[in-house]
């Protein structure tokens, strides 16, 4: 059995990384009151450090920083613009190309039928708009709830 007491380095290692401690040292500790006292002191110290109150800023750091962040530069939506121009041009071209057919359909169809079709389209659009607003409100509500939980 080792007779010399454990050094401070060995005692710290004994507490922090016990798996790296030599068996002989462990045996020595079991029979040595001096080393046991030293280990107890260190344990108390480690627990004391761990239990110290963690420092906290007494101001809202997140808001302070977010206020100073530069506004994000949003790239010009070229893709959206291109798709829009292409779609409008395509519809116009179709309109011009098939104008004689469209005109014939409009003049030959009874007014009642056209009015019914327009009314049906308006009703469908209203229902869709209401549904979109509801969805939007629901998503906004969910997002605000998550924000509140996170921050």
């Amino acid at each position: 059995m080792i007779t010399a007491h454990l050094t401070d380095a060995e005692i710290q290692l004994y507490i922090v990384e016990p798996e790296n401690i030599n068996d002989q040292l462990t045996i020595h500790v079991q029979d040595c009151e001096n080393c046991q006292a030293n280990i107890a002191n260190y344990r108390l110290l480690f627990n004391g450090i761990q239990d110290q109150v963690k420092p906290r800023f007494d101001f809202d750091l997140t808001n302070l920083v977010l206020e100073q962040l530069p506004e994000p530069k949003r790239a010009f939506p070229w893709a959206v613009l291109l798709i829009s121009v292409f779609s409008v041009s395509f519809i116009l071209l179709l309109g011009i190309f098939f104008w004689s057919h469209i005109e014939a359909v409009i003049t030959r169809t009874p007014m009642v039928l056209i009015a019914t079709a327009i009314a049906a389209a308006i009703v469908i659009l209203i229902f869709q708009a209401v549904e979109m607003i509801r969805n939007h409100q629901k998503q906004l509500h969910a997002l605000l709830n998550v924000n509140a939980m996170q921050l």
């Binding site: 107890a40 002191n41 108390l44 450090i49 761990q50 239990d51 110290q52 963690k54 920083v65 977010l66």
Partner: protein
Amino acid sequence: MSNLKDEQFSDRHLVTGVLNGDRYAFGLIIKKTEGLVAQMTFKMISSPGDRKDIAQDIYLKAFKNLSGFKFQSKLSTWIGQIAYNTCLHYLEKKKLLLMDNFGEDSGSPIGHFNKDLKNDTEDLLFNKELATVLQTEIELLKPLYKTLISLYHQEDLSYAEIAEITSLPEGTVKNYIFRARKTLKENLLLKYKRNEL
């Protein structure tokens, strides 16, 4: 519940969000790492007014350089590095010492500050007293030692993570933490012995 939700926002998710212009994601990064930054600034900077400026500076630097973050370490470690370097720069500017040399092993005889306690109330009072004394003793350490001790024991960072934050070799980090603990233990023993006399 809140911790679980925090976990869902992975570092990559948050960084991508910020790079796509989502300021809220940067707010979450601040919330996630604020404790570590507070720990470092409180230990390294003594002036409360300067701490406020430095804390903001750390996050503004992080925001500016976020596109350069390569996910080779945890985001918190990367922000810890920025915090450490910013505090270090401040100390250098103010010509303040980050550390000095500890004395060699004095081989002082073993004393006790873990008294035999008779009951829970005594135990509680002793622990309270020890916490106050320990806080004072930690404050007396040099900024680097205070920081290393807190990162290891309070923030539960590994030696490797602390080495990454401070750019010190892992062996040096271990050595400094060992010395800081030993100094704390010896100072506590001295204090309790003096009180006993």
